[in-house]
């Protein structure tokens, strides 16, 4: 009997695993924005890699800092050289889990507000964060969006005194990813 129970369990777990759906994207979008007196600071990164594991609720993001593009190329150089230090810290990443996975149904159309908790790594500094966002399912297409704020000081990104008035210490981040199913 015991053996059969184990076998059933194994089969059950295997079944869960095989139906466990992962969703991924290679061209997710992350933008940041900060209002400044001279010129708003805004940049887009359209090469964000992200996966959502439908069965465990694991969420991951990874992006290359030098793939943020600014309208002003001088800003882009300064961003990479003096603030995010891309040569030293090429990637920013997030590794976390959806808190209330049971409320999200990846196969039924709808909009599901979620809170994702995990570790956000920027500029070589990792902080524990909880970020709220939305997972929407529409005709089998899964979209994840989120808007949140990052305090630069938390990630040891320092602003020199001379430009302190021109750069906000808290920047707005906007995440938008359209996921494909993993085959």
């Amino acid at each position: 009997m015991k053996n059969i129970a184990i076998l059933v369990l194994i089969l059950f777990i295997t079944f869960i695993n095989s139906t466990a759906q992962s969703y991924f994207t290679k061209n997710g979008k992350v933008s940041f924005f900060s209002a400044a007196p001279f010129e708003d600071i805004k940049a887009d990164n359209n090469q964000v890699i992200s996966i959502i594991n439908g069965s465990t609720g694991d969420v991951r993001f990874s992006l290359l800092n030098n793939a943020f593009h600014f309208k002003n190329s001088v800003m882009e150089v300064h961003f990479n050289e003096s603030y995010i230090e891309s040569a030293k810290y090429p990637k920013s990443s997030f590794k976390g889990r959806i808190n209330d996975l049971s409320k999200v149904n990846f196969t039924t159309d709808g909009s599901y507000p979620v809170v994702v908790s995990g570790e956000l790594t920027i500029h070589g500094v990792t902080n524990k964060v909880s970020i709220s966002g939305t997972i929407s399912v529409s005709g089998g297409v899964i979209t994840g969006t989120s808007k949140f704020k990052v305090n630069l000081a938390d990630y040891k990104i320092s602003i020199p005194k001379v430009v302190k008035g021109n750069i906000a210490e808290v920047v707005d981040l906007d995440v938008s990813c359209v996921y494909e199913k993993k085959i």
């Binding site: 777990i13 090469q47 890699i49 594991n53 030098n66 190329s73 001088v74 020199p160």
Partner: protein, 311 residues
């Protein structure tokens, strides 16, 4: 009990499998999106000290440059170590594309108007395309407006255009070896048919000059580098060696040592140099003094960038 243990072990195994799966998938995705990673900010500015670096302005960026070179510091306290006399160049550079820029300028020294064209041909990169160096071509034109004669009615007429105009063609090869260290090599050919007719007032060799001697085209080899000492401060060195056949004895090679300080949209470049001019022809071929004799000038460049065009 045994089976429960087994189940626990198995469950644990399955969870790690899932986690493993996520990590592998992330790695795979990162590998797939491996793109060409271009090296940026090999130098802070489009000029190393007086000469060019491989850098060009971004598209739609206007760079207003104000350059000053003072008299030699060995003039002592009476002339406040040369600061009483300034020679300047006002310049405007503009980025047409991310790889092509143009510029114009006007210098005090010999009342020179100049123009430049600069194009980045190869870009240092890693990733999908592996390129060890950056290659840039710079072409400049400079014409003096101080060479005039008086006609019979005593009107000022500029002399023959060819006799007061110079051109330069320069190739610059650079490599950013690390985040803090970049080197460049910049051979330059200068077409210069200006006669030697004016010399810097403060030079040591003022009395030895033979006026009217016609110049030859000059080939010079330039070397330069920068060492970043902090995120916003870099130390630069620039030297141009003129091939001896075209270099008159009264002229010397230009050597400059400087510091770049960057603050937002400004770059301040402060330096010590033996060169007085600020166009290719004048600072490479018209340097009248040697460092060794104490004829060292303090100078600075201020660069302020504005975004004017649409990207």
């Amino acid at each position: 009990m045994k089976s429960i243990k087994l189940i626990i072990v198995f469950l644990f195994f399955c969870t790690t499998l899932v986690a493993q799966d996520d990590t592998d998938l992330m790695k795979q995705l990162e590998k797939d999106s491996n793109k060409t990673n271009y090296t940026t900010a090999t130098f802070k500015s489009t000029r190393l000290i007086t000469g060019h670096t491989i850098e060009t302005l971004g598209k739609g960026i206007l760079d207003v440059r104000i350059l000053h070179r003072f008299a030699p510091i060995n003039r002592g306290l009476y002339d406040f170590f040369g600061l009483d006399y300034a020679s300047m160049r006002l310049g405007f550079d503009y980025g047409i594309t991310n790889n092509i820029m143009v510029g114009i300028g006007r210098s005090t020294w010999q009342k020179t108007y100049d123009a430049l064209f600069k194009i980045k041909i190869l870009k240092q990169s890693t990733g999908a395309v592996n390129m060890p160096v950056t290659l840039t071509f710079v072409s400049t034109f400079a014409t003096r407006s101080d060479l005039a004669r008086k006609d019979t009615l005593n009107n000022r007429i500029l002399i023959n255009f060819a006799d007061r105009t110079s051109f330069s063609e320069q190739l610059i090869v650079s490599r950013k070896f690390s985040n803090n260290f970049s080197l460049q090599f910049m051979p330059i050919f200068i077409f210069n048919h200006n006669k030697i007719d004016s010399i810097n007032t403060y030079t040591k060799n003022k009395d030895n000059i033979v006026y009217g001697q016609k110049r030859k085209n000059t080939f010079a080899l330039g070397f330069g580098g920068r060492l970043k000492v902090s995120k916003r401060v870099a130390i630069n060195l620039e030297y141009y060696y003129q091939m001896p056949d075209a270099k008159p004895g009264i002229r010397f090679n230009s050597l400059s040592l400087g510091v770049d300080i960057e603050t937002g949209g400004h770059i301040f470049q402060m330096h010590f140099t033996n060169a007085n001019g600020m166009t290719e022809k004048s600072f490479i071929t018209d340097t009248d003094d040697k460092w060794r004799d104490g004829y060292i000038r303090f100078g600075f460049n201020i660069s302020r960038v504005f975004k004017v065009g649409k990207p």
